[in-house]
């Protein structure tokens, strides 16, 4: 188990790479529909705004960031993610937790 300090740093890095992914999809969205870069921002569901194509774009953008920054490739949209009771893509924060979980499983 990582200590609190290391975990905070890792979470910050993960949030930053999610924000870069958000930048990437915001570039394709009208100003009024752009996502704020905050952990509590909803991505999917009623208060979200990402349709299935938007979600594909976001997943790919974030996976590219993970590969560049952590030098591992993750499949964020695998069966595990889709079968979880709480949708990991519901908010920026839940997605960050899910990525942290996957990275930890890779020993990072």
């Amino acid at each position: 188990m990582k200590d609190q300090g290391e975990r905070m740093t890792a979470n910050d890095r993960i949030l930053k790479l999610i924000f870069k992914g958000i930048d990437s999809i915001n570039a394709m969205r009208p100003k009024e529909a752009r996502f704020a870069k905050q952990p509590d921002v909803a991505l999917m569901g009623e208060s979200g705004g990402l349709d299935s194509l938007g979600m594909v774009n976001l997943i790919v953008a974030i996976e590219q960031q993970i590969e560049e920054q952590f030098h591992v490739s993750l499949d964020l949209a695998d069966d595990e993610a889709m079968s979880m009771r709480d949708n990991p893509f519901a908010t920026v924060g839940s997605l960050a937790n899910y990525i942290a979980h996957l990275l930890e499983r890779k020993g990072l």
Binding site: S24, I25, A27, M28, R29, P30, K31, L53, V56, N57, I59, V60, A61, E63, Q64, A77
Partner: protein, 563 residues
């Protein structure tokens, strides 16, 4: 643009929704709304004139296909099978014909070139071998497509390979393909959207026409007033010197595409001009500049003055200056002027210039190539005007010649360019593409003439258009267009003389002109008010009864034929 929002249709054999989103979200003008045809229906929609996707009169279509989807033989190339090159090229020809046919549904068709599909991009030594290499075959296909489309002024190829190269290894992502049927990374679509919008600006005549540059640390290194022209960093065996020379060369090349250059610099004029004339490594010399304001005044004021002296609007101007302060000043004072952020690193000046997608005409005419020379002639005319006592004396001394000719295939391109660009002396400001204009001019009751103007200082080329619609005994002037470069030299009166002379020869009783106001064509109304035509009650329709001949201005010689 012809309308605030430019509507388009995107047809593709892949999921192109991201391209539509990029076009919509980009801040660049024009504002674009596009309908994406579902990729399974795109090819059928190209054949079906009545397809719902063509309803609502979209102005443009983007047709972006993968080569293996539209050229069967190319699939064999991907499988390493031997192919008949003739058959492959014949299929390219068929596809090109299909693209040309779309021009009866939209004004412009934009076609990104074919690139190799995601999973077939590295055949190493074989890639460029004739008859087997994918890259070699694709080059041939794109060349053939380009040759086919050259005959259509409405279908334009866009270089998609450049977008791929500029994005690098993010250009393709297999997951986007498997999950979304999207063959390119989204940065490719952002590049594509930038270039599609730049193409639309060019096609609608909104390319920038004047680059105003600073001198010190912009065209050369160093402050000429402090160190003298002999000590400037320019050319020679110095990496920055070479960078400045390349930047100047890139600017000069733009003048061959019809872009004008101007200087706004805080310097002593004599000192700066001496450097431009005498430095052996200068690429740009005084004759390459349409004008300059070299003094110690505010740069924004100088930009306005210089632009006005060239009869251009500020929306035609790009201002390049190494100083962030000067850029901020001009940007704030003159929001219509494009003031790009400029790199500190001089080595990046040339590439920064190339990255400005604002000089994008669809064609280059002889007038474009000689534009700087024409403006220099204009300055000589103005010099003579200051010496002359009266306006009449000055006009006579110019020895203006107007040559009239009917619209034909040879002058069509320049005529359409003039029709779509001219704002001030434009009676109705109607904008038309060349096929539309040619069709209109060929109707039995329509006449359309173009006017070439020259004088003792030079040839301004085709600078006027007039057209007439005949109904009963009345001829209605539909277009009356004159480039601001030759306004006020009695060319206007010479054009009316020609129109009315023709109207008289075919037995008409009168000729009228209905002025349609825009935000920019007040000079045209003012001309018609003093033209001698009689205004009606609205004071925007003007009449001439042909029982009297409209006088030919003494100062103008009219040549050519109206038939």
């Amino acid at each position: 643009m012809s309308s605030p929002t430019c509507r388009g249709v995107i047809l593709s054999d892949f999921n192109a929704a991201n391209l539509a989103d990029c076009l919509k979200s980009s801040d660049d003008l024009p504002v674009v709304e596009s309908t994406v045809v579902p990729f399974g229906e795109a090819i059928p929609a190209m054949f079906q004139r009545n397809s719902e996707f063509w309803r609502g009169e979209p102005e443009f279509a983007v047709i972006w296909t993968q080569p293996q989807s539209v050229v069967d033989v190319f699939r064999d190339v991907l499988r390493y099978q031997s192919i008949s090159l003739d058959r492959l090229l014949a299929q390219v020809d068929e596809y090109a014909a299909l693209l040309v046919n779309l021009t009866d549904r939209v004004r412009f068709v934009l076609v990104p070139t074919w690139v190799a599909p995601t999973s077939y991009r590295d055949f190493g030594l074989l890639d460029l071998k004739p008859g087997i290499g994918i890259a070699n075959t694709l080059m041939r296909m794109n060349m053939r497509l380009s040759e086919n489309l050259e005959r259509s002024a409405h279908v334009h190829l866009l270089n998609a390979q450049r977008w791929i190269e500029s994005v690098g290894n993010r250009a393709f992502n297999p997951k986007l393909w498997y999950m979304g049927k999207i063959p390119f990374g989204n940065e490719v679509f952002l590049e594509a959207a930038r270039e599609i919008k730049a193409a639309l600006r060019g096609l609608y005549g909104h390319s920038r026409k004047l680059i105003i540059v600073d001198l010190d640390d912009t065209l050369w290194g160093g402050i000429v007033g402090d160190i003298g022209w002999e000590n400037l960093t320019l050319g020679g065996h110095h990496y920055l010197g070479e960078a400045y020379v390349d930047f100047q060369r890139a600017l000069k090349i733009l003048t061959h595409r019809g872009v004008l250059l101007g200087i706004v610099s805080k310097n002593e004029e004599a000192t700066a001009l001496e450097a431009i004339r005498r430095h052996p490594e200068m690429v740009l010399r005084p004759d390459d500049f349409a004008g300059w304001r070299i003094n110690w005044q505010d740069k924004a004021e100088n930009v306005v003055e210089l632009t006005r002296s060239l009869n251009l609007g500020l929306q035609a101007v790009v201002f390049i200056d190494d100083s962030p302060m000067e850029r901020a000043r001009v940007r704030e004072a003159l929001p219509e002027v494009l003031v790009p952020e400029w790199p500190d690193d001089k080595c990046l000046f040339e590439s920064a210039l190339h990255s400005l997608l604002c000089f994008n005409p669809p064609a280059i005419t002889e007038e474009d190539r000689r534009r700087t020379e024409m403006y220099r002639s204009e300055q000589q005319r103005e010099g003579l005007k200051r010496q002359m006592v009266s306006l009449d004396e000055w006009l006579k001394s110019l020895e203006v010649r107007v040559t009239v000719e009917p619209l034909n295939e040879t002058n069509l391109q320049r005529t359409v360019q003039l029709l779509n660009k001219t704002n001030q002396m434009n009676l109705t400001t109607r904008r038309m593409a060349d096929a539309e204009l040619l069709k209109w001019a060929r109707a039995p009751n329509h006449r359309l003439w173009v006017f070439r103007v020259s004088d003792k200082f030079g040839d301004s080329g085709i600078t006027g258009i007039a057209s007439l619609e005949v109904q009963g005994g009345t001829g209605t002037i539909v277009d009356f267009v004159l480039s601001c470069r030759v306004m006020g030299r009695n060319v206007e009166e010479a054009m009316i003389h020609s129109i009315t002379k023709h109207a008289c020869s075919i037995g008409l009783e009168n000729v009228s002109a209905q002025f349609i106001p825009t935000g920019k064509n007040k000079p045209c109304l003012e001309f018609w008010r003093r033209s001698g035509f009689k205004p009606d009650q609205s004071e925007e329709r003007f009449w001439w009864w042909l029982d009297a001949a409209y006088p030919r201005p003494d100062s103008v010689a009219i040549e050519g034929s109206l038939d």
